[in-house]
């Protein structure tokens, strides 16, 4: 190939949009944008679904830590429902519902308030008492107060869901470059470095920074920190639990950017395996197993489901949630720089809210009205200071 031809090839390859990051959020954005008939290039420093997505539980859940969180999760869960029939079997999409377990009567009060909020938003849910809870989930310890049942929540296998989005996007004309790191964004162009170490500049009409915990490497002002979590997976015990079981205190654990916390969160997988979570800590990018925190997390889970004690744990892993100080993702135009959009900072809800995020980004880039109010997610919104966020809530520890 002559030099001119190579240049020509590069020029004609100038995409309308570069999506940085092929995690679930970037993958969903790419798919939404290619469906707008845009020419999309996806770049990822490693491979599709290999970052936070790889470590995620894959719980598609409506959450109500704030009205904006409720709006985005409820909207997104609906989008997943509509995609469900298209998803291949290896995405393991299953609607099993969530049980928000109330330990004491006062927790049941919280469940009732939660119920009202869900109802106001059109999210089906119901309160069950202690006896009904024991009937639904006999593996739970006796003496719990009850639960809020959200039957429409689902589960999927995140790495393959991201892969499916990317493969769909590629089938519709998008291009994918894995092992290709975005090293900087400058004046409507992305500087990328391929696996061979060769750098080049790709200019595009729009750049979507969906790089998760790496998003601040390209836009240093983004208030995203890695929040580490542990998960345990067991051998197959298909009859033990039926719905995803989460303690009502989970929101306390997830809220704010406090120190170490654990909460009971057990998910029965389509395979019959159980995923045991969850923990949160801010330790930079140290991915090693924190044995003490893992111990607390497991103790908490065994307190709720005593039979877990004898299940065989086959693997433990850690991952990093891209967390923001106010617990909401950063979705929309980055006004400080022309042609840059942000879709990052989803903390533990990236899998759930990927399709909603993609719809907001696509609408914004296309200059269309947003499907839900985009204001609460604007990347340039005012944020609580990190230290204020830490002081806001005492961390929720295992009891």
């Amino acid at each position: 190939m002559t030099h001119a031809a190579r240049l020509g090839a590069r020029r004609s390859a100038r995409p309308d949009v570069v999506v940085i990051g092929a995690g679930i959020v970037g993958a969903a954005c790419a798919l939404a944008l290619v469906r707008e008939s845009l020419d999309v290039l996806i770049v990822d420093a490693s491979f599709t679904g290999g970052g936070s997505t790889a470590a995620a539980m894959g719980h598609l859940v409506v959450m109500d830590d704030s009205p904006a969180q409720l709006a985005l999760t409820a909207y997104s869960r609906g989008l997943w429902e509509r995609m469900a029939d298209e998803l291949p079997a290896d995405c393991e999409y299953e609607t099993r519902g969530t049980l928000w377990v109330a330990e004491r009567d006062e927790d049941l009060e919280a469940a009732r308030a939660k119920h009202a909020g869900y109802a106001a938003h059109g999210v089906a849910a119901s309160i069950v008492d202690a006896a009904e809870l024991a009937r639904l989930e006999p593996a739970l310890r006796p003496g719990l107060a009850g639960a809020l049942v959200v039957p429409g929540d689902s589960v999927l296998y995140p790495p393959n869901a991201a892969r499916w989005c990317v493969e769909r996007a590629v089938a519709l004309g998008a291009r994918l470059r894995e092992q290709c790191e975005a090293v900087s964004i400058d004046r409507g162009a992305v500087r990328v470095r391929g696996a061979d170490g060769v750098e080049e500049t790709v200019s595009a009409g729009a750049i979507v920074n969906a790089a998760g915990i790496d998003a601040p490497r390209l836009v240093p002002e983004l208030p995203i920190v890695p929040r580490k979590g542990h998960l345990v997976i067991t051998d197959r015990y298909p009859a033990l639990c039926h719905a995803q079981l989460v303690e009502l205190g989970y929101l306390r654990s997830a809220h704010g950017l406090g120190g170490e916390s654990v909460a009971f969160n057990v998910q029965p997988r389509a395979t019959g395996q159980l995923l045991i979570g969850s923990s949160r800590e801010l330790v930079g990018r140290d991915g090693s197993v924190n044995r003490a925190l893992l111990g607390e997390m497991v103790q908490r889970a065994m307190w709720f489901v005593p039979a877990l004690a004898q299940c065989d744990a086959i693997r433990v892993w850690t991952g990093f949630r891209p967390a923001t100080p106010d617990g909401l993702p950063l979705i929309g135009r980055w006004e400080a720089e022309t042609g840059v959009w942000v879709a990052a900072g989803h903390e533990g809800l990236g899998i759930t809210t990927a399709p909603g995020t993609a719809a907001l980004i696509a609408a914004d880039i296309m200059g269309r009205g947003a499907p839900i109010d985009p204001a609460p997610y604007r990347p340039t919104r005012a944020m609580p200071r990190a230290d204020a966020a830490q002081a806001e809530e005492p961390s929720c520890r295992a009891t």
């Binding site: 033990l240 395979t271 111990g295 497991v298 039979a307 877990l308 004898q310 744990a313 433990v316």
Partner: protein
Amino acid sequence: MPRDVTIIVDGRPIAAPEGTTLASALLGAGITQFRRSVTGESRAPVCGMGVCFECRVTVDGRAHQRSCLIPCTDGLHVETMPNDVRPWVPAVHTDGGVRTCDVAVIGGGPAGIAAATAAAEAGARVIVIDQGVRPGGQIWRHRDPASLPKLARAWIARCERARADGGSAPEWLARSTVFDASAGDDIVLRLTGEGPAAAGTVRARRVVIATGARELFLPFPGWTLPGVMGLGGAQALLKGGMTARGWRAVVAGSGPLLLPVAAALAHAGARVTYVVEQAPLSQAVSFGAGLWSRPAKALQAVRYGASLLGARIRFGTWVASAEGDADRVACARLTNGRRAWTVPCDVLCCSYGFVPNVELARLIGCDIQRGRVTVDATQQTSVPGVWCAGEPTGVAGESAALVEGQIAGLAAAGADARAHSARLQRARDAWRRFGDSLTDTFRPRDAVRALAADDTLVCRCEDVRRDALDPSWTVRQAKLYTRVAMGPCQGMVCGAACANLFGWSAGTVRPPVGGTEVARLG
């Protein structure tokens, strides 16, 4: 003669001599369908030594128990192919407590026994942590000590009473494995298993890793059929009390284990029809010629040969595929690359040498090169306070393990000068060379490494077909997208198969190594 005990299998009483392992008793009673795989295939024991997780059954209501690790006791209730799988709720939680020692030895085979003996004789307080019911590891696995070779009996007896003046003999923690290890000022080992100390912790100033090796399995069409097992697997199951009366056996693969396994099967009542070695005759002969400098080994080989009258012995020949039904293998297809022929069989033993067990060493952070733990002249690893002996430093067999174990044990006990003794160092170097030539001679040929067809399962835990794996992926991609190597065995079987098929290397190791109950993580 041990007395018979009665176990109840799927409601049916079965008698077996006391001490027989459960897997051996079931196979001996003609039961070949142990568990149902995730895609519904029936499976039976393959490795016989706790690695492959294919022999899992429900024992006394407790799901997913490896039957090859459980001795038969009166009244044991066993369910095979269970439909309803639930965790077991015990009456009491056990807590093995915390033990402290100068030197913890992980593994009770020849390397571990030699290390424990040398360290205790040098005055160290020693704890040995071993998966087996009795000392000896895989090579010296036994039910009756009288059945052991003299050398093994002598070492086990010496280890039992090894101590310096005023010291104590090694404490032996049987039926225990280490699932987590962290190195700080002390090295903390967390234990799992069935032994009385199994739920406890060992704090050691120094550690000798003597975790041995597992077999190398290379997938071929039909390798997941019940009745297809490893050479070492067959040996372990026979030592565990399996009878093979009336079985037609094909013994295949590579390496010096072929003849002893064939002889042991014949001794247990099987009719061995074929013994096939993939290495060409010329290669095996030149290795065999080297054995004349080691008369004991040569004599052993001749003895095995004599007990196999009637078996056809073929070199440069391998198993291309196997066929059978859900119940068991029916025949093996053999080939020498020019022609292929079918041999009926009830059991097909096939494996290609050994893979060092380096997972614990990797977890502790020891440097590992080409699958072997890097050690210095005294067997010390790259992590201060951690030594390694035997197969994890490179497969070389029992004699190498004994010498390396002694060196490591002495050094770990602080007897550095003796660990450096010319006699031990020379012997170790000689056995290492022997090990290297063994590995070179019996390295599987390319044709054997590429036998898996598109629909052959590579990962037996998660039933991942070969054509589901894209060779352009990294190992991490493969794991995430298909769950290959992510099942209960955590790649202990298919990891090496993937390395051979796709060049994928082992990933990171995290606790729990080998798995443990959730409660142990808490």
